[in-house]
Amino acid sequence: MPMKLSNRTNFILTVALVFFVWLLLFFINGHMNTYMIRIVSLIGIYGVMAVSLTLINGITGIFSLGHSGFIALGAYTSALLTMSIHQKEVTFILDKVAWPFNSVQLPFLPATIIGGIVAAVFSFLIGWPSLRLSGDYLAIATLGFSEIIRILALNLRSITNGALGLKSIPQYTNVWWSWTWLLITVLFVGSLVNSSFGRALKAIREDRVAAASMGINIFKHQLLSFVIGGFFAGISGSLYAHWLTTIDPRTTSIGVMLTFNVLIMIVIGGLGSISGAIIGAGLFAILTEWLRFLEEPMKIFSFEFSGIAGLRMLVFSAMFVMVMIFWPRGIMGRKELTWNTLYSKLRRGSGESNE
């Protein structure tokens, strides 16, 4: 048996996988209950959030805590574009809707893309000053910027409807939209990481001084990674808004809490791995849903136990801290789940060894 799979085999296997996943989605969509379908959609959305953040944090080594800001930008922009004009007039009670939103309505796809672009533009503007800072300061600066975005959302009533948020956003997101965007994100980011640019980004993560000495323009490459991550964050925001059908500008929904959630996903999955990010996103979605039972009334040994709200996140955060202490590399570490790794596991399993 050959040591490594050829490029052609890789390609065929990947196409087969995508086909298989699509078949699975088709099955899920047709046969499972609405609740499960929504969770599957959510996994796709979380996947886009996670992959976009792992490009910035895990692969390029930029410790950004501002991701929720870009997600929010994508969410608001696209929702304001897809809601019908009548709907907007009805929702905006405090201040009338500003131009251009008061006269524009777009279909889902262009609205999502515009959401991504708006997020990318802001990534550029925010990255420009922030990326000049080092490690911890960069983290706080990006956190600060995402908070500023949220506070602006709370106050610019004619654009965002202020503290009331947006409601009755058309529920466009289904498994197809979310998973297709996930595929696009993975293909784009994966292709970038598997190129010379990806090597450069990793080099920046490993040792900035040496990377500069090898001719890499640190600032430009970091900005590049930041903007691409921001773009897909915006896309995920749009998908999220049209899944949730509301946007609420409080800290706990699109504020820092959201950034922390995505951070948890990529840390558990493996900081620096795209497949890890998806695994982390899936685990997060499934665990938070599964742990919901902790908040329902239940019987333990014939004792009635009334559910406690918030127990999920408590268990979750405890798990997270323990993972950080005992298992900081996460599930995948920095490695990717490639056909080659599976193949070599199979080979070793069947007792063959050419080494």
Partner: protein
């Protein structure tokens, strides 16, 4: 002979401390020039000024006649100067091959930033940002990738590291790590290599091999070598000309024989009582 690098009265001060004081010398094209001196003499600072890490308080740095004093480190590499580090700075989590391949990235990623950079060796593949999109969408990119990979493997082969190509850089033995740093610097297509203590931590037989290797690299790759070293056997066996620094000042210049008999040099290393040895 062409002066490939000229340090024109370079002074580097950090607040009250003068690390390099009026350093005025040059590197001739094709030579192997050594820079020695006691610890703290300012040798690495000279390297850092040349490579753009520091901007000199006074003076200029010229590369092939071009003023590169104010260029940032990544521009210095575009221009054709590369370096290794005193404390190994490999990309630890990346493979040996990737370490060498990433050194070639600047050729496809650079937009012509400063006009005068264009005058120096243009990359065969043009330097522009469309390569970003071509990399992502893999349009004509795979061929380029293969060329970079072949070139990287070639360099690794020449330095005896080919077998380790798929290993993580962090897993390499110390001596091989130092060689990898040199391989990486070569892969940038540099014309001038600054080697900062490449023999540090090597045993005598390894350092002898290094001497032969560096001489061979100079001939094979047609580069100029500027080397900081503490191991005197390496310095004397390798360098055609030697500069000696002490307390930031250039105190002597000459061939290995001349330097060994130079009173000031002996004083700098061993103290004044020993200077009579030279007489």
């Amino acid at each position: 002979m062409n002066e490939i690098l000229k340090l024109d009265h370079v002074t580097m001060q950090f607040g009250g401390l003068t690390a390099v004081n009026d350093f005025n010398n040059h590197v001739r094209e094709g030579e192997i020039l050594g820079l020695i001196g006691p610890n703290g003499a300012g040798k690495t600072t000279v390297f850092n000024v040349v490579t753009g890490v520091y901007y000199p308080t006074k003076g200029k740095v010229l590369f092939n006649g071009l003023d590169i004093t104010s260029l940032k480190p990544h521009h210095i590499t575009h221009v054709g100067i590369s370096r290794t580090f005193q404390n190994i700075r490999l990309f630890q989590d990346m493979t040996v091959l990737d370490n060498v391949m990433v050194a070639q990235h600047h050729e496809i990623a650079t937009k012509d930033a400063e006009k005068y950079l264009v005058k120096i060796g243009k990359s065969k593949y043009g330097a522009n940002s469309t390569w970003f999109w071509r990399s992502v969408f893999k349009l004509g990119y795979l061929r380029r990738e293969k060329e970079m990979k072949d070139k990287a493997l070639n360099i690794l082969e020449k330095l005896g590291l080919r077998k380790l190509a798929a290993e993580k850089a962090s897993s390499l033995p110390y001596g091989e790590q130092r060689l990898l740093e040199i391989a990486r610097a070569l892969a940038t297509d540099a014309k001038l290599l600054l080697l900062d203590e490449p023999a540090a931590g090597m045993n005598p037989s390894e350092s002898q091999q290094l001497v032969q290797l560096i001489k061979w690299i100079r001939d094979e790759f047609k580069v100029t070598i500027f080397i900081i070293e503490h191991d005197m056997k390496v310095v004397m066996g390798l360098c055609e000309r030697i500069l000696v620094m002490d307390y930031g000042v250039l105190i002597a210049e000459g061939t290995p024989d001349e330097i060994q008999e130079n009173k000031k040099v002996i004083e700098a290393y061993l103290g004044e009582e020993w200077s009579h040895v030279a007489e």
